[in-house]
């Protein structure tokens, strides 16, 4: 997750923080946009982190044959 903090922070800054700082009205539409723009990247970042962690585990620890790894 640490490696994806910068893309995640950049994404949230431009899609949520900047519009709020620019005075966007925080109405139902914006709240819906914010909910999706926070939830989906967090899910994607978590899934990618798990994949990267598994990849490191396979490469560094050698517990699983590389032919079994799906990447």
């Amino acid at each position: 997750m640490r490696r994806l903090v910068i893309p995640l922070a950049s994404y949230l800054a431009v899609t949520i923080v900047v519009p709020i700082l620019n005075g966007a009205s925080i109405d139902a539409d914006f709240r819906e946009h914010a909910a999706l723009a926070i939830a989906l990247p967090l899910i994607i970042a978590t899934m990618l982190s798990l994949v990267l962690r598994c990849q490191r585990f396979v490469i560094v620890e050698g517990h699983v044959s590389s032919s079994l790894a799906p990447w």
Binding site: L4, I6, P7, S10, A13, L36, P41, I44
Partner: protein
């Protein structure tokens, strides 16, 4: 402040100036002013779906048959800004000299532009597929699915590009022993 930190701060200041100018331009620009990004995007989509998009003043690129328009709000400029910020913030401290830091920044701008064209064209093609073959996900409306699809495509691509740049600039694979 040490010299490398000063150079990093200068580079990040330049990044802020570039992204601010880009955001300001985007917030006021119409379809005509955004042709620098809409035209190549429309061309890529045309090539991928083999259907012509015609430019219409004050609207964007339209295909009447597909009932789809590539308008300023889906030009992908925010993605380009995010990509520039992520690249500059993520890798500026790994560059040893001011020249290398500025090269990173300007390369980020150029590569972010090219990445935006590719990612946005892919997002539009997926949106066209979803329009032709509607799906139902957890009671979301088609507009919400279109929105969610944009977030998934943009953020996944951002992560993939960031990890690729990280592999190239920061953590190159060690050479296999011969």
């Amino acid at each position: 402040m040490t010299r490398p930190r000063l150079y990093s701060a200068l580079t990040l200041g330049a990044m802020l100036a570039i992204t601010y100018a880009l955001k300001r331009h985007y917030s006021t620009a119409d379809a005509e002013a955004l042709r620098w990004i809409l035209a190549p995007t429309a061309w890529l989509v045309e090539t991928l779906v083999r259907a012509p998009f015609v430019f219409e003043q004050h609207v964007g690129y339209i295909n009447q048959e597909l009932r789809f328009a590539i308008v300023p709000s889906c030009a992908g400029v925010n993605f380009m800004i995010i990509a520039i910020c992520a690249a500059a913030v993520g890798f500026v401290t790994h560059m040893p000299t001011l020249r290398a830091k500025l090269t990173l920044l300007f390369a980020s701008v150029g590569l972010a532009y090219l990445a935006t064209l590719g990612v946005n064209a892919a997002r539009i093609v997926i949106a066209l597929l979803l329009q032709a073959h509607p799906v139902s996900i957890a009671g979301l409306s088609s507009a919400q699915i279109h929105h969610a699809e944009g977030i998934v495509v943009y953020f996944s691509s951002l992560c993939a590009l960031y990890l690729l740049a990280d592999r190239i600039l920061v953590r190159p694979r060690p050479k296999a022993p011969t």
